[in-house]
C-alpha cells in the first residue's frame, strides 16, 4: 500500500475502530486515539526522510493514482510536494499533542471527541495530499463537519453562535470554488486531475479572472484575510483548546496552501492582475490584526486576532512572488502553526486552572508557576520573531523578500509589514507582562499548580520545534525550494506570454546594483 495513502487514512481507521468500542471505556479510547495519532506521526516521518528534494526529483512524490469515479472524470490521486509534506508533518505533530492536551479538559463525550479529532486529521492530511480537484474539494469540505461538532459540543458559552457562523461562512465561500472546479473540467480536456488541469487548462483571460476569484474567495475566508476574518475571533474563542489549536495550527494554513497550490499556479495571469490588491489587503490585515490584539481583554481573542496579523505576513509573502518571500511564507505557515498552536495550548492550561480567560484576572503568575511562565515566554518570543526562534526566519525572509520583490511599492509594503512586527512584539510582551509579572493581585492565583508531566509532554515538542526550526532551518527549507522554484518559473512563463515588463522574481539589492551595472557595461570609452 502506498505510504501516503496509509498516512491519510490511518486516523480514519482509528476513528472507525473507536466507534465500535464500548461507550464507557474512556481510558481505552484515549490510549487508542493517542496511539493511532502517534503511529500516523511516525509514518509521516518516513515521508519526510523518503522525500527527495534534489533538483532532478519528481515534483510530486509518493504519488498514487487510481480510479475513483471514472465516469465523472474524478480520480483518487494523491502526492506530496515539499510544501504539502511539511504541512502534513505539522498536522501529524499537532494531532497527538492536542489529544494529549485534552486528557483532562475534555471529560464529557470523550469517545465522540476523539472520533471527531481523528476524522478531522484524515480530512486535513487528505486536503494537503490530494492531487485531484474534486478529491481536494471533498477533503476540504469534509473538514467542516468534525470542526463544527468540536466547536459546538465542547466549546464555551457562546459556542452555538460561533460554530454556525464558522460553518456557514466557510461553506458559503467554498461552494463557488466547486463551480470553478467544474468549469475547469470543461476546459482542460474533461478531467479533474490537478496536474492535467495545470498543464492543459485553456480559458479566456476574463474567465481565468473569475475562476481565480472563485478559488481566492474560498481560500481567503479560510486564511482569513481582512475583511473576511470575522468568523475567526468567534470560532477561536469559543472552541475548546484542542479545536483552537487545530484551527489555528492547520486549518488556517489550508487557505494559504490553497493559494500556493491552486489559485496561483492554475491562473498565473489572473493572479498577477490581482496581486497588488491582495497584498494591500494582507498589509491591512497585518496592522488591523495587531491593533485589534492590542485592545483585547480576553487572552484567547488576543491570540485569535494575532493570527489574522500573522497570516497577513504569509499572504504578503505569497503575493510578493519572489523566491525568498515565498519560502518565508511557507516557513511562516509552519511557524504560526507551532507558535500559535502552543499559545492556545498555554491559554488552555491557564483556563483549566483558573476557569477564566480574562487577562485582568491574572498577574504575577511567574512566581507561582515558573515552568509555565518560562514556556510562555519562549513561545511568545517565537511568535514575535526573535532571532534564534523559528519566527525570525520566516518573518525575515518574508520582509526582505517583499522589499526586493517586483510587487508595486514593495518598500512601503515591507515597511508597513515591519511595523506589524513591532506592534506584535508590543501586544505579546504586554500580555506576558500582565499575566506573569508584576504583583500577585488575586488570592485565587496563589494556589495554581505548575506544569504536570503530561503537560510537559504536550508543550515539550512545541518548544523543541521552536528552537530547532529557529537554529537549524535548513532541513525544513530544503524540501520547500523545488516547489517554490517551480511556482516562480510558472509565473515567469506567464510573464513571457503576457509580454511587458518583468513582474515576478527578485530585484537585485540596491547595494549590489552599481556593481551589477558596471559588470553589464564593462567597456566605456
Amino acid at each position: 500500500m502506498n505510504l501516503l495513502s496509509l498516512v491519510v487514512f490511518l486516523p480514519l481507521f482509528g476513528a472507525l475502530t473507536l466507534a465500535v468500542l464500548p461507550r464507557d471505556e474512556v481510558g481505552q479510547h484515549r490510549v487508542l486515539a493517542l496511539s493511532v495519532s502517534l503511529a500516523t506521526f511516525v509514518l509521516s516521518l518516513f515521508l519526510w526522510t523518503g522525500f527527495d528534494a534534489g533538483s532532478g526529483a519528481a515534483e510530486f512524490q509518493f504519488e498514487q493514482r487510481s480510479a475513483w469515479l471514472p465516469s465523472l472524470g474524478i480520480g483518487y490521486h494523491v502526492g506530496l510536494d515539499g510544501v504539502a509534506l511539511l504541512l502534513v508533518l505539522l498536522t501529524t505533530v499537532l494531532t497527538p499533542v492536542v489529544i494529549l492536551s485534552a486528557y483532562r479538559a475534555v471529560a464529557e463525550r470523550v469517545k465522540e471527541f476523539l472520533i471527531a479529532i481523528l476524522v478531522l486529521e484524515t480530512a486535513m492530511i487528505g486536503t494537503f495530499a490530494a492531487l485531484d480537484l474534486v478529491l481536494f474539494y471533498v477533503f476540504w469540505e469534509a473538514m467542516l463537519v468534525p470542526m463544527y461538532l468540536l466547536i459546538g459540543i465542547w466549546g464555551s458559552q457562546n459556542r452555538l453562535y460561533a460554530t454556525i457562523k464558522f460553518f456557514v461562512y466557510t461553506f458559503a465561500a467554498s461552494v463557488l470554488m466547486l463551480l470553478a472546479i467544474l468549469y475547469v473540467y470543461f476546459h482542460d480536456g474533461n478531467t479533474f486531475d490537478y496536474l492535467e488541469a495545470r498543464r492543459a487548462l485553456e480559458v479566456t483571460p476574463q474567465a481565468a479572472r473569475w475562476l481565480f476569484l472563485a478559488f481566492a474567495l474560498a481560500f481567503a475566508v479560510k486564511v482569513p484575510m481582512f475583511p473576511l476574518h470575522t468568523w475567526l475571533p468567534d470560532a477561536h474563542t469559543e472552541a475548546p483548546t484542542a479545536a483552537s489549536v487545530i484551527l489555528a495550527g492547520v486549518l488556517l494554513k489550508m487557505g494559504t496552501f490553497g493559494f500556493f497550490r491552486y489559485a496561483l499556479p492554475l491562473f498565473p495571469e489572473a493572479a498577477l492582475s490581482y496581486r497588488g490588491a491582495i497584498a494591500a489587503l494582507a498589509v491591512v490585515g497585518i496592522l488591523y490584526g495587531a491593533m485589534m490584539s492590542f485592545v483585547q481583554t480576553d487572552m484567547k481573542r488576543l491570540v485569535a486576532y494575532s493570527s489574522v496579523s500573522h497570516l497577513g505576513f504569509v499572504m504578503l509573502g505569497l503575493m510578493a512572488l519572489s523566491a525568498e518571500a515565498l519560502t518565508g511564507s511557507v516557513y511562516q505557515m509552519l511557524n504560526h502553526g507551532i507558535s500559535t498552536g502552543a499559545l492556545f495550548l498555554l491559554v488552555g492550561l491557564l483556563y483549566e486552572r483558573r476557569h477564566t480567560r480574562q487577562i485582568a484576572d491574572y498577574g504575577g503568575l511567574g512566581k507561582v508557576t515558573p515552568a509555565l511562565a518560562a514556556v510562555f515566554v519562549v513561545v511568545t518570543l517565537s511568535s514575535i520573531g526573535l532571532p534564534g526562534t523559528n519566527g525570525f526566519v520566516g518573518e525575515f525572509l518574508i520582509l526582505s523578500g517583499t522589499w526586493l520583490s517586483r510587487l508595486g511599492a514593495p518598500a512601503v509594503m515591507a515597511a508597513l509589514g515591519a511595523l506589524g512586527v513591532i506592534l506584535g512584539a508590543v501586544y505579546m510582551l504586554l500580555l506576558v507582562e500582565r499575566v506573569f509579572f508584576g504583583p500577585l493581585r488575586k488570592e485565587e492565583n496563589r494556589t495554581l499548580g505548575d506544569l504536570s508531566v503530561r503537560e510537559g509532554f504536550v508543550l515539550g515538542p512545541m518548544v523543541a520545534l521552536i528552537l530547532l526550526m529557529g537554529l537549524l532551518p535548513q532541513p525544513f527549507l530544503r524540501p520547500v525550494k523545488p516547489a517554490v522554484d517551480r511556482l516562480v518559473q510558472r509565473f515567469q512563463a506567464a510573464e513571457v506570454r503576457l509580454g511587458g515588463e518583468t513582474r515576478v522574481g527578485t530585484v537585485p539589492p540596491a547595494i549590489a546594483r552599481p556593481a551589477l551595472q558596471a559588470r553589464a557595461r564593462p567597456e566605456r570609452p
Partner: protein
C-alpha cells in the same frame, strides 16, 4: 399493428406486478381474522422488489402500444426508484401506523396502486396516458394523505391536496386538449408539429403548469408545506420520493419532446423552466430558513430540491449536454429519494402523538430533536447523515448528486443557474445544520417517547447505507444512471 402486442404487454409487467400486489393486499385485509398485520409491509416490499427486478431484467427498449408509452433505460431507472421508495416507505409506515392503531391493508394497497401509477407515468409518452397515470398516482396519494381521518391537520392537508391537485389535473388536461387541437395528436412525438401555433403555446404552457404543480415548483408550490406537514409522515416520505420522481420523469419527456424542433440552445419553454428553477431554488431555501417544525422545513427543502432538479431538466434540453444531464437527474432523484425517506422516517419516529382527540401543538418542533445524540446516538447519527446529504456536504451521496447536476449545467452553459444553485445550497446548510445543532449540542429535554421496530431499523439502515456508500463509492450507480440517461 399486426398480431398480439406481446412485447407491449411484457413492458407493463412491473405495473401488473404492483397492481396485483395491491389487490392481494386488499384481499388479505378483507379475509384477515387474527388482526396481525405485520406481514403486510413485508408483502409490499416483496411486490415492490419483484416489480423493480422485472423492470431491470426486461430491458427491451422500444415503444409500447404504438408510442403511447416507451420502455427505455430512463423508465426502468424511474421504476426502480419508485419501487425502492415504496418499499422503504412501507417499512417506515408499518411501525408508525401500528403505534397509532391505524395499520390496515388498504394503506399498503393504496401506496402500491399509487406506485403503479408512478411507474406508468415514467413510461408515458402520450398526453392521455400521462393524464391517466397522474390520476392513478394522485388519487391514491389523496386518500393516503387523509389516512388519519381524525384531527384538523390531516383533513386540511387532504382537502388542500385534493382541490389543488384537481386544479393541476384540470390545467394539464385542458392543455392536452389545446395541444391536440394544435398538433392533431396526443403523442409527445407529434408535439413539434404544432409549434408556432398559438394553441400550441397556450396548451404547452397549461400542461407544463399542471406538471409544475406536481413537482412543487415555485410559484405552483403553495400546497406543499401544508400537505407535507399534515399528511401522515410515511405518506409524506412516499410523496416526496415517488410523486416527485414520477412527475420529473413526465416533465423531462414533455419538455424534451417540445424542444426537439429547436436549435441547440434552449428557447421558449426551456427559458420558462429555467426561470422556474431560479424561483424555486431561491424561494424554497428562503422559506425553509425560519421553520421551527422540522417536518415543514423538510417540505420547503423538497421545494428547494425541486429547483436543483429543474436545473437538470433545463440542461437536458441542450442537445450536447443531454445524456449527462439526464444521468445526473436520475442519480439525483435516486439519492434524494433515499435521503428524504430516511429523514422523514426519523421525523416520524420522534413525532409527538395525539392524546385522544387533542392534537399536540408542535409535534415536529426542533425541540423534539434536542439532545437526541445522547439519548439515541444511532438515530441522531442517521439523521445527521441525511441532513448533511440534503445540504450537499461531502462525503455524502447528496454532494455527488449536486456535483453531477451542476456539472451538467456548466456543460450546458447555464453558469448563472449553477451559481444560484450553489449559493442557495449554502443557505440550505444553515437550516439543515440547525437540526444537527439541536441533536448534538443541546441538552436533552424530558424523555420523549421514540418509536422503535425492526422494520424501521432496516429502513433507516438501508437509507444510511445508500447515502454513505454512494458518498464514497458512487461509481456503480453513476454507471447505471449514465446507461439510463438516454430517452427511447
Amino acid at each position: 399493428m399486426t398480431g398480439f402486442p406481446t412485447t407491449s404487454f411484457a413492458a407493463l409487467l412491473p405495473v401488473a406486478i404492483l397492481t396485483l400486489g395491491a389487490v392481494v393486499l386488499l384481499l388479505s385485509e378483507a379475509f384477515l381474522v387474527s388482526g396481525k398485520r405485520a406481514y403486510q409491509s413485508g408483502l409490499t416490499v416483496a411486490f415492490a422488489a419483484a416489480a423493480a427486478v422485472a423492470a431491470l431484467a426486461l430491458h427491451r427498449p422500444g415503444p409500447v402500444f404504438d408510442g403511447q408509452g416507451t420502455l427505455d433505460g430512463f423508465s426502468a431507472f424511474v421504476t426502480a426508484i419508485v419501487c425502492a421508495g415504496l418499499a422503504l416507505s412501507a417499512l417506515v409506515g408499518a411501525s408508525w401506523l401500528e403505534a397509532r392503531g391505524s395499520e390496515r391493508g388498504e394503506f399498503y394497497a393504496l401506496a402500491t396502486f399509487g406506485a403503479a401509477g408512478m411507474v406508468l407515468l415514467g413510461m408515458a409518452t402520450d398526453l392521455l396516458v400521462a393524464f391517466v397515470s397522474i390520476e392513478v398516482m394522485s388519487i391514491s396519494t389523496y386518500a393516503l394523505a387523509a389516512w388519519l381521518r381524525r384531527g384538523l391537520r390531516p383533513s386540511e392537508a387532504a382537502f388542500k391536496y385534493l382541490v389543488l391537485g384537481a386544479v393541476s389535473s384540470a390545467l394539464f388536461v385542458y392543455g392536452s386538449a389545446l395541444l391536440y387541437g394544435a398538433c392533431g395528436s396526443t403523442a409527445f412525438a407529434k408535439l413539434p408539429e404544432g409549434q408556432g401555433s398559438p394553441l400550441y403555446l397556450v396548451g404547452m404552457g397549461l400542461a407544463l403548469a399542471g406538471v409544475a404543480f406536481k413537482v412543487a415548483a415555485v410559484p405552483f408550490h403553495a400546497w406543499t408545506p401544508d400537505v407535507y406537514e399534515g399528511a401522515p409522515t410515511p405518506v409524506t416520505a412516499f410523496m416526496a420520493a415517488g410523486v416527485k420522481t414520477a412527475s420529473f420523469a413526465l416533465l423531462v419527456r414533455l419538455l424534451l419532446a417540445a424542444e426537439t424542433g429547436t436549435a441547440v440552445k434552449v428557447a421558449g419553454f426551456g427559458a420558462l423552466v429555467s426561470a422556474l428553477a431560479l424561483l424555486t431554488m431561491i424561494a424554497g431555501n428562503l422559506l425553509a430558513l425560519p421553520q421551527r417544525s422540522v417536518k415543514r422545513m423538510l417540505a420547503y427543502s423538497s421545494i428547494a430540491h425541486a429547483g436543483y432538479l429543474l436545473i437538470g431538466v433545463v440542461s437536458a434540453a441542450v442537445a450536447g449536454a443531454r445524456a449527462q444531464a439526464l444521468a445526473g437527474l436520475l442519480f439525483y432523484l435516486a439519492v434524494y429519494s433515499a435521503t428524504v425517506i430516511g429523514a422523514f422516517a426519523v421525523v416520524g419516529v420522534l413525532e409527538r402523538r395525539a392524546e385522544g382527540e387533542r392534537e399536540p401543538a408542535d409535534p415536529w418542533d426542533l425541540s423534539r430533536f434536542s439532545g437526541l445524540a445522547r439519548r439515541h446516538p444511532a438515530l441522531a447519527f442517521a439523521m445527521a447523515v441525511f441532513l448533511l446529504s440534503l445540504a450537499g456536504i461531502p462525503p455524502t451521496a447528496g454532494f455527488f448528486a449536486k456535483l453531477y447536476v451542476f456539472r451538467a449545467a456548466i456543460g450546458a452553459g447555464f453558469e448563472m443557474l449553477a451559481i444560484v444553485g450553489v449559493l442557495t445550497s449554502a443557505l440550505g446548510a444553515y437550516y439543515y445544520l440547525r437540526v444537527v445543532l439541536y441533536m448534538y449540542m443541546r441538552p436533552p429535554e424530558a424523555e420523549a417517547e421514540v418509536l422503535s421496530a425492526p422494520s424501521l431499523a432496516v429502513a433507516l439502515l438501508a437509507a444510511v447505507l445508500v447515502v454513505v456508500v454512494l458518498g464514497v463509492a458512487a461509481e456503480p450507480l453513476v454507471r447505471l444512471a449514465a446507461a439510463a440517461g438516454t430517452l427511447g
